[in-house]
């Protein structure tokens, strides 16, 4: 999937990746790639500014901690982040329902 198409959804993808867990930067990137079956092809460096943006919005909080013997910055959702994720999920379901109603129709108008 092209980076430009993903960029608009990166915040929501990151919120979903952090849902119910605390992860460091590269673990988030791996989880994103695994979750998409490797289809998400975004420069990994763009994840860090996005995490900072989410932190600035109060949706994510971070702490430096030692993970696997190395000092790492780990991220987790805040309550506001949980609410934002719920809102993103509802908006996404609504969007896909509407688009699917038109695009996924199998050309029924052509048949009438």
């Amino acid at each position: 999937m092209k980076p430009d198409a993903l960029r608009g959804h990166l915040d929501a993808l990151l919120l979903a990746t952090l849902d119910g867990r605390q992860l460091h930067g590269y673990a988030i990137i791996e989880a994103l790639q695994q979750g998409s079956g490797g289809a998400l092809d975004l420069p990994t460096g763009t994840v860090y500014p996005a995490l900072r943006r989410l932190e600035r919005a109060g949706h994510v909080t971070s702490d430096w901690s030692t993970v696997g013997g190395r000092k790492r910055r780990t991220y987790r959702l805040t309550q506001a982040g949980q609410r934002a994720l719920q809102a993103e999920r509802s908006a996404w379901r609504e969007f896909t329902t509407v688009i699917d109603g038109v695009l996924g129709g199998g050309g029924k108008w052509a048949q009438t």
Partner: protein
């Protein structure tokens, strides 16, 4: 032995960034961690060390593009920090100065030379500048948090820097105006009390420091392409 590609990448990235030293250091530490993690993952997939490092750097993204995104975040963080300083320091500084003046000098009306009404207008306006500038900084901070995901980071950084420059500019103008007005009415008032002269000096030092912070804020925001 050639230069380590991860070291080169992190050094190149760091040389393009401007902002709070701690923030830059944190971002670079995180970048290095990420590149080392990616290298380990690629080594596990059977690549050689050099290939794994090269792949990790390629996946991280072109340094110019990544530096630009990092810089936008650094600029907005610097802007936020400057606005916090403005919101806290300006009213405190003004209150301390006014309290000191009332204790050491007393009301303007009680001074030996008559105080014209226009002078009181300037004094009142100057009194209001710190509160107004602090209020604007506070509103900008709240809006910045609400709009963090809705607006482009580069735009928010430039707005924060502009507000900081404007706020310090207004306070500076108010202080210059009151000094010029005092000198015009009765120049001796400027040196009437040594503690107040020291307080004024501290006030100016703080204003200049805030001005330098605001200028750096603008510099951080404008190097973003």
């Amino acid at each position: 032995m050639g230069t380590d590609v991860i070291d080169s990448y992190v050094t190149d990235l760091g040389s393009r960034l401007q902002g709070s030293r701690k923030q830059v250091r944190d971002l670079l530490t995180e970048t290095r961690d990420s590149l080392e993690d990616a290298t380990e993952a690629h080594l596990g997939r059977g690549l050689t060390e050099q290939e794994a490092k090269k792949r990790a750097v390629e996946e991280f993204g072109p340094v110019r593009e990544i530096a630009n995104e990092y810089q936008a975040e650094l600029a907005v963080a610097y802007g936020t920090r400057t606005l916090v300083w403005l919101a806290i320091v300006l009213p405190l500084m003004h209150m301390a100065w006014e309290y000191g003046r009332m204790l050491l000098v007393g009301p303007w009306q009680d001074l030996g030379t008559p105080t014209p009404s226009w002078y009181l207008v300037i004094a009142k306006a100057n009194d209001m500048t710190s509160g107004a500038a602090s209020g604007v900084a506070l509103v900008a901070l709240v809006l910045g948090r609400i709009l963090a995901r809705k607006y482009d980071t580069k735009l928010l950084a430039k707005l924060a820097a502009s507000i900081a420059i404007l706020a310090v500019g207004v306070v500076l103008l108010g202080n210059v105006a009151i000094i010029a007005a005092t000198a015009h009415v009765d120049a001796s008032r400027l040196m009437q009390s040594l503690p107040m002269s020291i307080a004024s000096l501290i006030t100016w030092t703080v204003i200049i420091r805030l001005g330098l912070l605001a200028r750096r804020c603008l510099s951080c925001a404008t190097i973003v392409a």
